[in-house]
């Protein structure tokens, strides 16, 4: 009879990986308006159990955020089980594994060449006498602890109120790459194929695709190409080594590795058999070294070594005596340097005008309820979910409007797509998906009273004011029952075609205006609108020259 478990553990792991990848994809697809004002919930799950995002948001935001309780649970589980998350749960890790499978024949040569070199860097850490290293070896050694540098930079930076987590968090990179680039391309290519196949809007196959498989439309995003390349880089790094990102760069992996270093569950034996070494050669995480044995902070419990061991002696269990743990691949000097760099970041950023505490752009509008700019930037983990869920596509990643610090943080771009992009009056989905509360979960009534900005007419452009042409499209679309745009003056005129026209000159009732930007989006002018929304704290632009 076969030994327990009857299905090998490795297959359990693969099953879990696929199931959680599927969960991730389902949640991603569900991050969209689908007919209900309230989303079913759980769309931000992958961020809420991300201890890196949780720590960074809480450190920078100087508050305990209860919504991150799953991250604490994960951390506790990691204390017991080790870095299982990276091997069993992480959807990016699963995608990288699948990608590796696909490109293995191509990547093998590069991996043989570079992998050995990198592996020496890994091994160097466990050598006690570190004097006679070459420069190249020293650099590789330093690189092998890059994930700790990124982690420290991120957390110390956050503690000093400079939020970096969005640049390095694996889920943020994944979601942004998928939402900003892959999803719209999926829509467009499917659309092209369906059209080619003669499936018009009334045909059932297209309707099935539209209803169940595709996003509602191909959204357009700033920084789509940048997000795509950042994500693509993680995949391209599979060529030099398997799980390159997870091994060397991922700060979340670094954090979980540190937490799981003294986990109860571990590989027995910790050593690698001198006459075999199959497991060390095959280890996707480079966690096994022929000399020093297992590095528990690297092992992601993929259980390949259990399955591959020719003698079938490897197992994962709770050993009676805690075995000695190999040295951590982070030097004291490296630790201090990363901490100092993290602490210096806000100052450097301010000196180089990279900080976004005082945005100079009066058009930089933040999502409803975001409040103070600095608070918002500190809490926001740049996960991209709000921009994914926004039904009108008005939420866009900021480029440099709020400094380098504000890169990828959400902002409103009314008029980005003509007539389409504005903040929908009856919608508060962005607050529902935000994992950190940077966009608070406002009720619809609260959200409808939270001004995003205030609209100002530009009398040098607005048709009734500048060109004696009837319009007030802005008044027509204003969603407030009382209309924040009123007619100030009405008069008759005759245009060049001898048509008698009635001109209504509009003004903004600024006390009522909530800055949703639907007026700006719908202004029929080419180029900048004749009515534009400015930050609530921005000064009057004095473009309403003829106001009463």
């Amino acid at each position: 009879m076969k030994r327990f478990p009857w299905i090998p553990w490795r297959w359990w792991r693969r099953g879990a990986q696929l199931a959680l990848l599927l969960l991730f994809v389902c949640l991603f697809r569900r991050t969209e308006y689908a007919g209900a004002d309230t989303l079913p919930g759980g769309e931000n799950l992958f961020f809420r159990w991300d201890p890196l995002a949780a720590a960074a948001a809480m450190l920078a935001g100087r508050s305990l955020i209860a919504a991150f309780w799953p991250a604490l649970a994960l951390l506790l589980l990691t204390l017991l089980l080790g870095r299982f998350f990276c091997g069993w749960v992480c959807p990016l890790g699963t995608l990288l594994d699948i990608f590796q499978r696909c490109v293995r024949p191509l990547a093998r040569r590069t991996q043989r060449r570079l992998g050995g070199f990198l592996h020496r860097g890994d091994a160097e850490h466990s050598r006690k006498d570190g004097r006679d290293r070459s420069f190249a070896l020293r650099s590789v050694r330093l690189f092998c602890s890059a994930r700790y540098f990124l982690l420290l930079l991120c957390l110390v930076g956050a503690a000093c109120a400079f939020q970096l987590v969005g640049f390095v968090d694996p889920f943020a990179l994944l979601v942004r790459g998928l939402a900003f680039w892959a999803d719209p391309r999926l829509f467009q290519s499917s659309d092209a194929v369906l059209t080619w196949a003669g499936q018009s809007a009334v045909d059932p196959v297209r309707q099935f695709f539209m209803k169940h498989l595709l996003p509602f439309r191909a959204n357009t995003y700033h920084l789509a190409a940048v997000s795509a390349w950042l994500l693509a880089m993680l995949f391209l790094l599979e060529f030099p080594a398997r799980r390159f990102w997870c091994r060397y760069l991922c700060p979340l992996g670094g954090l979980l590795g540190l937490a799981g270093r003294y986990a109860l569950l571990r590989r027995v034996p910790a050593r690698v058999c001198k006459d075999c070494g199959t497991c060390a050669r095959n280890c996707r995480m480079g966690a096994l070294d022929a000399g020093s044995g297992l590095a528990p902070q690297a092992c992601n419990l993929c259980l390949d070594c259990v399955a591959d061991c020719p003698r079938a002696i490897v197992k994962f269990t709770v050993p009676r005596a805690q075995p000695a743990v190999a040295a951590l691949d982070l030097s004291r000097r490296g630790f201090l340097a990363a901490c100092v760099a993290g602490a210096a970041l806000p100052a450097v950023a301010r000196a180089a005008h990279l900080s976004g505490a005082n945005p100079s752009d009066p058009g930089l509008l933040r999502p409803p309820g975001a409040g103070d700019e600095k608070r918002f930037l500190n809490l926001c983990v740049r996960c991209g979910l709000c921009m994914k869920v926004c039904p009108t596509n008005v939420l866009q990643p900021a480029v440099l409007e709020s400094g380098v610090e504000g890169l990828f943080s959400p902002r409103l771009a009314p008029r980005f797509v003509f007539e389409q992009t504005y903040c929908e009056f009856n919608c508060n989905l962005c607050g529902q998906v935000c994992p950190s509360g940077a966009i608070p979960r406002l009720s619809l009534e609260e959200k409808q009273k939270a001004p995003l900005g205030k609209a100002y007419f530009d009398h040098s452009r607005c048709l009734p004011w500048a060109k004696n042409t009837p319009c007030i499209r802005c008044e027509e679309v204003c969603p407030l029952p009382d209309k924040a745009i009123k007619v100030q003056k009405t008069f008759k005129t005759i245009n060049e075609r001898k048509e008698e026209l009635e001109i209504q000159q509009p003004r903004v009732e600024r006390d009522l205006c909530i800055g949703c930007g639907i007026c700006e989006a719908n202004c029929p002018l080419d180029g900048p609108a004749g009515i534009r929304v400015r930050r609530v704290d921005a000064p009057d632009p004095h473009t309403e020259t003829q106001s009463a």
């Binding site: 308006y33 007919g35 929908e424 009856n426 042409t469 008044e475 048509e499 029929p524």
Partner: protein
């Protein structure tokens, strides 16, 4: 075009030429109707009300021939609930669609180019759910994003010489266009009625239309000629239109007005707002283009 394609098209066109007289054998019933017939009806049960108001006009069978491709064009422009009077009432849309199916329509499309997010408008107006509750695969409630649009040169137009239209609403793709507007206040056009409802089947920059709105609405109606207009005046919006949102601005009339002549329907409905047909520029412009009759003394009004 290659030889095969050429031969294919020659065959198709000549087949079409042969087929045209066949279609003509049975004259369109709508043409037989005296043009100036207008029906109104009042009642609480909106589904029964639709049948009632259509009775004097000969029922929907008089407009929808078996095998016809029907477009039902309600107003689904706003992210508002039915009681807020921003959109056509879902029960009315549902009944018209049902009647069209009973009359033997081959296909019934329901769509409108909304101002707010289309998904939200379709859901909150209740129209999508109402149409889908019919559960007939001949009916489809479609988003305009998915529809093809074509530029159209508008013959005899005075102000708007060409514009983009959704192809499914044009005569080439639609045998019977049924206009289901709702009567609302509108600050630029004064009122939005049947003529203005056509703005929901045009693509492109609709703000352009506002530069000379009355004439341009009339010009658009040269392209899209509804076979039937049923005005939803069950609830009308007196102020804060066309989007509304405040229930205090809504007046419940429980009335439907139907006619093959959109201009007559609009002229009749202005009285709900204590206005005269002359006050509404679009009605005057449409009358001047010969699109219909605005003088109600020349129209036979039947109270059903």
């Amino acid at each position: 075009m290659d030889r095969k394609e050429f031969l294919r098209q020659v065959a198709a066109w000549s087949a079409g030429a042969c087929a045209v007289p066949l279609f003509r054998i049975e004259p369109l019933a709508a043409d037989e109707k005296p043009p100036g017939l207008l029906a109104t009806a009042t009642g609480k049960d909106y589904e029964a009300l639709v049948t009632k108001v259509l009775e004097p006009l000969g029922g929907l069978k008089a407009f929808v021939k078996p095998g016809a491709r029907v477009v039902v064009k309600p107003n689904i422009g706003w992210d508002r609930k039915p009681e807020q009077a921003g959109n056509t009432h879902p029960d009315i849309v549902k009944t018209v669609v049902k009647l069209a199916l009973d009359a033997g329509a081959k296909q019934v499309l329901v769509f409108d180019r909304s101002v707010n997010d289309a998904r939200r408008c379709y859901v909150n107006s209740g129209i999508q759910a109402a149409v889908e509750s019919i559960k007939d695969n001949r009916v489809q409630c479609l988003f305009c994003d998915a529809l093809p649009h074509v530029p159209v040169d508008i013959q005899n137009a005075k102000s708007l010489m060409n514009f983009e239209f959704y192809k499914n609403a044009l005569e080439s793709d639609c045998d019977c266009y049924i206009n289901l507007p709702i009567a609302k206040h509108h600050s630029i056009a004064k009122l939005t009625l049947g003529l203005k409802n056509v703005m929901g089947v045009v693509s492109g920059n609709r703000g352009e239309i506002h530069k000379s709105i009355h004439q341009r609405i009339a010009d658009l109606n040269l392209v899209v000629r509804p076979k039937l207009t049923i005005m939803d005046a069950t609830r009308i919006l007196l102020r804060g239109g066309p989007s509304g949102g405040n229930l205090a601005d809504v007046k419940v009339l429980d009335t439907l007005v139907a006619s093959a002549d959109t201009v007559a329907v609009d002229s009749y409905c202005v009285s709900f707002f204590d206005l005269k047909p002359q006050d509404i520029g679009a009605i005057q412009a449409a009358k001047d283009l010969g699109l219909g009759e605005s003088d109600l003394s020349k129209v036979k009004v039947v109270k059903a």
